[in-house]
Amino acid sequence: MINTPTRNNEGFLEDAHSWTPQIAEQIAADNGLELSPAHWEIVQFLRDFYQQHAMSPPSNRLFVKAVKEALGEDKGNSIYLMQLFSGTPAKSACRVAGLPRPTNCL
């Protein structure tokens, strides 16, 4: 059992910089998710996106668009992403990737 850094009431890390792969696994486990290579590909994509653009994709639609742009149409579609990250994929995936909650202003 590792000590996870502070998370808010929706399970998002308070500080994106405190993220590690181990913490990702624990956040995923808390949400009943076991991370496969397919999950990790999306998580790594989000980490890179955050590194480059200093934000989470602001909405689910834009998350899907960004994945499509980076990994192609097979993965950049909402069905594929919903299979990996249930509920609202942008929210669930950002949570595991240690990114801020998407502003979801859409």
């Binding site: 009431n9 929706e10 909405s59 502003t103 979801n104 202003c105 859409l106």
Partner: protein
Amino acid sequence: MADISLQTYTVVITGAPYSSQAPQTALDFARAAVAAGHQIDRVFLYGDGVHIASALICPPSDEPHWPRLWSEFLAEHQIPAVACVASALRRGLIDSGEQQRYELSAHNIRAPFEIAGLGEWVEAGTCSKIIYFHSGA
């Protein structure tokens, strides 16, 4: 004589009450539009304009109460009004849903205003004529 067809407007206000004239100009425009038979399908508050939806604004009693005047106008004509959630949260304008989500001590949105996303603005752009009222500063 110019031929004027009936319009559907969305009024977007980005200027705050008591720091810009935008809420007053917008309300006078909206009243005149309704009086002329045009329709206002919604009012969208963005940026500093979200302060119009605050239930906690208390101007001196001899000054116009813009949030109340707007509320009364909206209720009278049953016009939906939305404050952008991203603008609202950053400026401390909160409804009960966001109060719960962020575990805050209170909410302060004035009826009939609601909090929603920019999707409302995007949709407005596809089905009505948008007119913006900005701060003059």
